[in-house]
């Protein structure tokens, strides 16, 4: 189990959160074409290593929390608000 440090609520149990995927994808321009939108919706890198992702604090303040998590060790390097830019460790 993770303990995720919500920027508003403090450390909370993983069960209070809903995982909402890669926090680095950006919506393409509206005229970018079907392939760009396919990638935006479906294609993910699924890395073995550090991953910047969304965890929605659904059971608490209902805010989207940005989390830098290692997908193999589950170590959490940092958390922040949606607009924060979080440093990602080298490896």
């Amino acid at each position: 189990m993770h303990r995720i440090d919500c920027p508003w609520c403090g450390p909370r149990d993983e069960a209070e959160f809903a995982y909402r995927g890669d926090a680095t994808v950006r919506r393409p321009a509206h005229d970018a074409g079907i392939d760009a939108f396919y990638d935006y919706v479906y294609t993910r890198a699924n890395p073995r290593g550090w991953h910047t992702e969304w965890w929605h604090h659904a059971g608490g303040c209902r805010q989207f929390v940005k989390v830098v998590r290692h997908t193999m060790t589950h170590e959490i390097a940092g958390t922040g608000k949606a607009g924060d830019s979080l440093p990602v460790p080298a490896e």
Binding site: W8, C9, G10, R12, D13, A15, E16, G59, G60, C61, R62, Q63
Partner: protein, 188 residues
């Protein structure tokens, strides 16, 4: 126009009485600051109610009115049940456009749990550490309690807690709370 008086969801079933537990019939109103207006809202609430809207993880009280932080720039304001809609109207007039105001009095139910054993009653359904070193008077949290979304606050060092849950969940929540407290009925 005359709106129906809210009826407690707890009035229609027989949850066994427990000396540590009591419903607090309340007016409960959600106020969310409009974009860029949190400072105006705080000043207006301070002037009208004599309380400072609290930061995350806290509540503030003045007289019989309590404001609990529940989300960024959003609070639940609670007071003993008065005339239907009166607290919401007072908050609309006070906020004067600085906040969205939603009357939750029918939708939420407020319960008090007090006694030395209260942290152990809650521990069976709560993920937060309620040890006095971690959680004390003045603190509040939004957290699932026995699988039910709840607002929790600690009123004093008795310890006395208050819990606010959706009225639809109030009956099963009270059944859980009463059951959890049963073993402490003679020791509170």
């Amino acid at each position: 126009m005359c709106a129906a008086e809210p009826r407690s969801p707890l009035s229609v079933v027989a949850v066994p009485a427990h000396p540590m537990i009591a419903e607090l019939p309340s007016a409960i109103v959600d106020i969310a600051a409009r974009r860029g207006r949190a400072g105006d809202l705080a000043a207006a609430i301070r002037a009208e109610f004599g309380l400072d809207l609290p930061p995350p993880g806290r509540f503030a009280a003045s007289g019989d009115t309590t404001a609990v932080w529940i989300r960024p720039e959003t609070w639940l304001v609670m007071a003993p049940r008065g005339a239907e809609g009166a607290l919401a109207r007072r908050l609309v007039e006070t906020a004067a456009g600085a906040a969205s105001v939603v009357d939750q009095s029918h939708g939420k139910t407020r319960v008090r749990l007090a006694g030395a054993a209260a942290p152990r009653v809650l521990a069976k359904g709560c993920r937060l550490d309620l040890h006095p070193a971690q959680f004390g008077p003045g603190q509040a949290a939004v957290t699932p309690m026995a699988q039910v979304g709840a607002v929790l606050l600690q009123r004093d060092a008795t310890p006395a807690y208050e819990l606010v849950v959706g009225s639809s969940y109030a009956v099963p929540f009270l059944e859980w709370l009463t059951d959890s407290a049963a073993e402490f009925a003679g020791t509170h």
